[in-house]
Amino acid sequence: MTMSSPGKKLYTVLIVPLIIFLVLPIFAGSYLLHIMIFIFFYAYLSQCWNILSGYTGQFSLGHAAFLGVGAYTSSFLFSQYSLTPWVGMFIGALVSLCVGLFIGHICFRFGLKGAFFALATMAFAEILRILFLNLPSMGGAQGLLLPLRGNAPLLYQFEGKAPFYYIALIMMLVSVAVAYAIERSKTGFYFKAIHQNEESAEALGVDTKKYKVIAVGLSAAMTAFGGTFFAQYFMYIQPDNTYSTFVSFDIMLRSIIGGMGTVAGPVIGSFILTPLAEITRSFLGGKSGAHLMIYGLILMAVCIFLPQGVYPGIKKWLTRFQSE
C-alpha cells in the first residue's frame, strides 16, 4: 500500500508542531497549558474510541464506562491501599479490558449490530454510573477525593501543570503510534474489512466476532489509562463526571469531526473542539451545557460540508489541488 503524496507530506510536516509541543511549557502560562492538556487528553481518548468505532465500525456510545473503570480502579486502590496510581493504572486497564471483553462478548455473541450495539454500550455506562452513585465504598454520589501528597511524582501527583502536560502529550503520541501500527497490520485490514462488509470478511477467513471483541478489549484497556490521568489531574472523581453520557459524547465527537477511521482524525478533531469547549466554558461560566450547543453547531457544519470529517476533507482537497 503506497500512501498518497499529500499523506506523506502531512506526516513530515508533523515534526514542526511536535517540536513546538515539546518546548511549549517553557513559555506558556497555566491556562494555555490547561487547554493543551485537555486537547492531548481528548485526542488520546478519542483515538482509543476510534480504534473500535472508527476502524472496526462498532459504534460505542458508552466509552465513559471504560474511563470510569480506569479512574475508579486506580483511585480506589490509592485511597484505600496507598497503591501508587502508576501501578493502579495498569490494574485499571486490566479491569477495563475484562469489562470490554465481557461487553463485546455478550453483544457480539447475540449478533448486536449498529444502533443496537451503540445503545447497549450506552446502557452499560449508565448502569455503571447508577451503580457507583449507590456504592458507599466508592464514595457514592460524593465521589472519591484522592489523598493529597503534595509534589509526589512517584504517586502520579505533581505541583504545576507541566508534568501533566508531558504525560498527556506522551499518551496522545502513543495512541497515535498504536493506531498507525494497527492501520498497517493484518489486524487493521481485518478491522476495516469488518467495518465495510462483515459478510465478505467472514468469507475471506476473518473471524469477525473475535476481531470485534479484540477491538473492544484493546479500546477499553487504553481508555482506562485516560481515566487514571483524569483522576490524578483533578484529584477528584464522581460518577457524573466519569461515567456520564456527556463524557462519552465528548470522546466520540472529536473523531467524528476530525475523521473516523483515520490516524489523524481524533487529533485534529480535538484541536478543533477542545479549545472551543474550554473557551465557551470559561466565557459562559455557570451556564453548564453551553459548550454542547457549540458542539451541535460544529457537528452540523461538518455533516453538511465535510461529511467524512475534517481530515479526509482536507486530504481530498490537497489531492485535487496537487493534480491541477
Binding site: 500500500m1 503506497t2 498497517r184 497490520s185 493484518k186 485490514f189 481485518y190 476495516k192 474489512a193 465495510q196 462488509n197 459478510e199 465478505s200 470478511a201 467472514e202 468469507a203 475471506l204 477467513g205 476473518v206 473471524d207 469477525t208
Partner: protein, 241 residues
C-alpha cells in the same frame, strides 16, 4: 476423487422447502455447474456449503471431514471459498487492499501479502486498477475483484455464484477464460450461472435443480436434451416427445 460430498442436504424456510434431499459430489479438479430456474435454491446450496446457513438435515463432507455447523471463516480457512452473487467488495479500500484482506488468511507479513496480492491482480487482469477504490470499479472489474479476493486465500474449492451476471459478450468470454485458468492452476470449481452458453462450455458436469430438488445430472450435452430440464425452464408444452 470426491473433494466435496453432499448427502441428504435439506433446508426449509418456514413452510418453504428451499433445498430438499440433495446428494452430489464435486470431484477434484473438475468444473461442476449448478443450474436451475430463478428461486430453485442454487444460492441456498452455496450458503449451506460455505457455512452462512445451517442445514436442517444432511452432511457436507469436505476433504474427508464433516463441515456442516462450522462458521464461514472456519470453512474458508480450510480452503473452501466462495464469491457472492452481488459483488461484495470493501468499498473504501483500494482494489489491492481488497485482495490483501484475503491474502492475510495465510500470512501476517504485510509486504509478502502485498506482493502476492499484486500477483493475483496480474492473474485476474486487474493490476491497472490496483489503486482504484473498489466502489469506483466497473461491473466487470468488480466481478473480477470478487474472484481475486477469494483467490488470494488460495482455495482448493471455489464456489462462484453468478460471476457473469450483467456482463457483456466480451466480458463473458474473458470470465470464461479466467475460470478455465483458475481450474488449470489446480482449483476445483463449483459454479452457479445463468449465462447458459458460458456454463455449457465451461462445465465438465452439470447438476440441474428445480424447487430445491435435483432433476438432472450429467454432461452439458446430456442435460441440455433432458426433458425434465426443458420442462423446468420452458414449461411442459415445449417438451418434444
Amino acid at each position: 476423487m470426491a473433494l466435496l460430498e453432499v448427502q441428504k442436504l435439506s433446508k426449509h424456510f418456514g413452510g418453504l422447502t428451499a433445498v430438499a434431499n440433495n446428494n452430489f459430489v464435486v470431484n477434484q479438479g473438475e468444473i461442476l455447474g449448478l443450474i436451475g430456474p430463478n428461486g430453485a435454491g442454487k444460492t441456498t446450496i452455496f450458503n449451506l456449503i460455505s457455512g452462512f446457513l445451517r442445514p436442517d438435515q444432511g452432511t457436507i463432507v469436505y476433504k474427508g471431514k464433516e463441515i456442516q455447523g462450522l462458521t464461514p471463516h472456519e470453512i474458508s480457512r480450510r480452503g473452501l471459498m466462495r464469491t457472492f452473487q452481488t459483488a461484495q467488495a470493501f468499498p473504501y479500500m483500494t482494489t489491492l487492499q481488497n485482495v490483501m484482506v484475503g491474502g492475510f488468511m495465510h500470512d501476517r507479513n504485510r509486504k509478502r501479502v502485498e506482493k502476492s496480492a499484486l500477483e493475483t491482480l496480474e492473474f485476474t487482469g486487474l493490476v491497472e486498477q490496483k489503486e482504484k477504490k473498489a466502489e469506483n470499479l466497473t461491473i466487470g472489474d468488480s466481478r473480477r475483484l470478487e474472484i481475486a479476493k477469494a483467490l488470494a486465500g488460495r482455495p482448493s474449492l471455489l464456489l462462484l455464484d453468478e460471476v457473469m451476471a450483467g456482463l457483456n459478450e466480451t466480458e463473458i468470454a474473458e470470465a470464461v477464460e479466467l475460470i478455465k485458468k483458475i481450474r488449470d492452476r489446480g482449483t476445483t470449481i463449483f459454479i452457479v450461472e445463468h449465462v447458459m452458453q458460458a456454463i455449457m462450455s465451461l462445465s465438465d458436469r452439470i447438476i440441474v435443480i428445480n424447487y430445491g430438488r435435483q432433476i438432472a445430472e450429467g454432461s452439458p450435452e446430456k442435460v441440455a436434451k433432458d426433458n425434465r430440464v426443458i420442462e423446468a425452464y420452458l414449461g411442459e408444452e415445449y417438451v418434444i416427445e
